[in-house]
Symmetry: C2
Subunit: 294 residues, 2 copies
């Protein structure tokens, strides 16, 4: 009998096999199998019949963008997104310039990898700063510079609202509503938003804002909220079904808003990372059909 | 030279002494000096010239409500609030009944202690539940039962929006806006909201919602957001000035909304709890004048 990871509980359903149409939109964000490089993660996706992969810049850099692009293309996978650009809140000129340069590189990498979606984690407060409104304004200011660059490259910038737990140190965009306001000056084809269940599940306005986001949803990411939080709150994300999030309602809401792109499973979790990647991929496929699909 | 706790850094200003008019609205929430009973915490407040104390039910129960009430009254302190009622999200009849009974007792205790403010931490999701909308509805349903009871006792129920980090396991009211919506059916004199900087500082709508809350602000609590969060996120609260919150802007906003009640310092923090309570109180007084007042 198959066991789900990391819980070790018996699988509730047979593992969907490659070719199963239910897997068509399923994407494995590379971070879910953090130990694997691009080649190994690509092989894993193919072996398990996933339609797409979400890549991260650091492992891509390890083998070079061109080689990573070829690997994924030759494997027949879509690249659902590239994580990540952003960190646009520096208050000093040098920091601002460095961030813009880094984001220009990220845009080029996204284009080279054949994805139209660059996820932006916008950054937290600069050290010692308490000027949250100022940090949020600098994100908007940086977008004004980056959007034309991205548009020229055929890349859409995907603003990711982050759970308010990360407001100080990671992302000052805290809600869908706020992200949509920052995106509003630009065409939906150039600036979208990420709906990550982990970040938005608590928001009383989440469903309403997803409906408002029609046409702007650039990425839909799933993972569960599990309590208690671990010592490193960055690693608190759980396998779908292990926590408190009602994924089906979110999936239906993004569907109803017209989103028909890939559904990325992105799990930062030390226990998931320690598990056998094939067991992780098989659990992801099972939980995806039992928790996310109808 | 005085040192601030828990940082150990030199005090930036002389410690305001008892009788200093700047301390008139300052209240020490008992939880900030978690080791002290009601008598010791009351003495501490008097010794440092605080105008009020925020009490918790558990230490009050240790000596009995009548005795606690007498101690605080004889000391000439106001009771700025009683923490806490709530936990109203049980989905089963037995749990619901037990919670309502407990809240009726809390209302009686608040009245006996001479405070008109009972803080409600509304509760998280029941074990195994993913029905966040249902849990939120049950809070509203329980309020319908409790508001008349509280009104008869001359106690105002103070809904505390909790940081979304606590949505699953502690409080499903996550924003001021949502709390105001739950309070809206009732007179402002019967149901108010708590503005706790720790819970609301990240909210893009915080200032707008504080303005909307005019007349409903039942309590203003301050403590800082310090990163990284500790292993137990409940204990992540910091001394004002040690983190990322702009207290002065929040204090001005609640002032502008007409709030003229006590300003409670409520810090859950293992390092603060381990420090000498007199050093904690002195630091609170100094940081209050440098960080919160103009």
């Amino acid at each position: 009998m198959d066991l789900d990871v990391p819980t070790g509980t018996p699988a509730a359903v047979p593992t969907p096999q490659p070719g199963d149409p239910r897997l068509a939109r399923l994407s494995l964000n590379q971070k879910t199998v953090n130990r694997l490089g691009v080649a190994e993660a690509t092989d894993l996706c193919v072996r398990h019949g996933f339609g797409a992969i979400g890549l991260w810049r650091e492992p891509v850099a390890e083998i070079g963008t061109a080689r990573a692009a070829r690997l994924v293309r030759d494997a027949g996978l879509r690249v659902s997104s590239l994580c990540r650009g952003g960190f646009l809140t520096a208050a000093d000129e040098a920091g601002r310039t460095a961030a813009l340069d880094d984001n220009r590189r990220a845009i080029d990498e996204a284009a080279a990898l054949g994805t139209d979606t660059l996820v932006l984690v916008v950054g937290g407060l600069p050290a010692g700063s308490r000027d949250l409104a100022g940090a949020r304004q600098r994100v908007a200011d940086a977008l004004a510079v980056l959007v034309p660059v991205a548009a020229d490259a055929g890349v859409r910038l995907a603003l990711e609202p982050m759970h308010p737990m990360f407001c100080a140190d990671r992302g000052v965009l805290s809600t869908m509503e706020q992200s949509l306001a920052v995106a509003a000056p630009y065409p939906a084809s150039q600036v979208g938003v990420v709906v990550d269940t982990y970040h938005v599940w608590w928001d009383p306005a989440a469903y309403q804002q997803i409906a408002r986001a029609a046409g702007r949803i650039a990425s839909f990411q799933v993972c569960d909220w599990v309590v208690p939080l671990p010592a490193d709150t960055l690693l608190g994300r759980g396998m779908m079904g292990d926590g408190t999030i009602d994924f089906r309602s979110f999936r239906r809401a993004v569907d109803a808003a017209g989103y028909d792109g890939d559904i990325e499973v992105e799990i930062f979790n030390a226990d998931v990372w320690a598990a056998d990647p094939d067991a992780v991929a098989a659990t992801v496929a099972r939980r995806y059909v039992t928790e996310v699909l109808d």
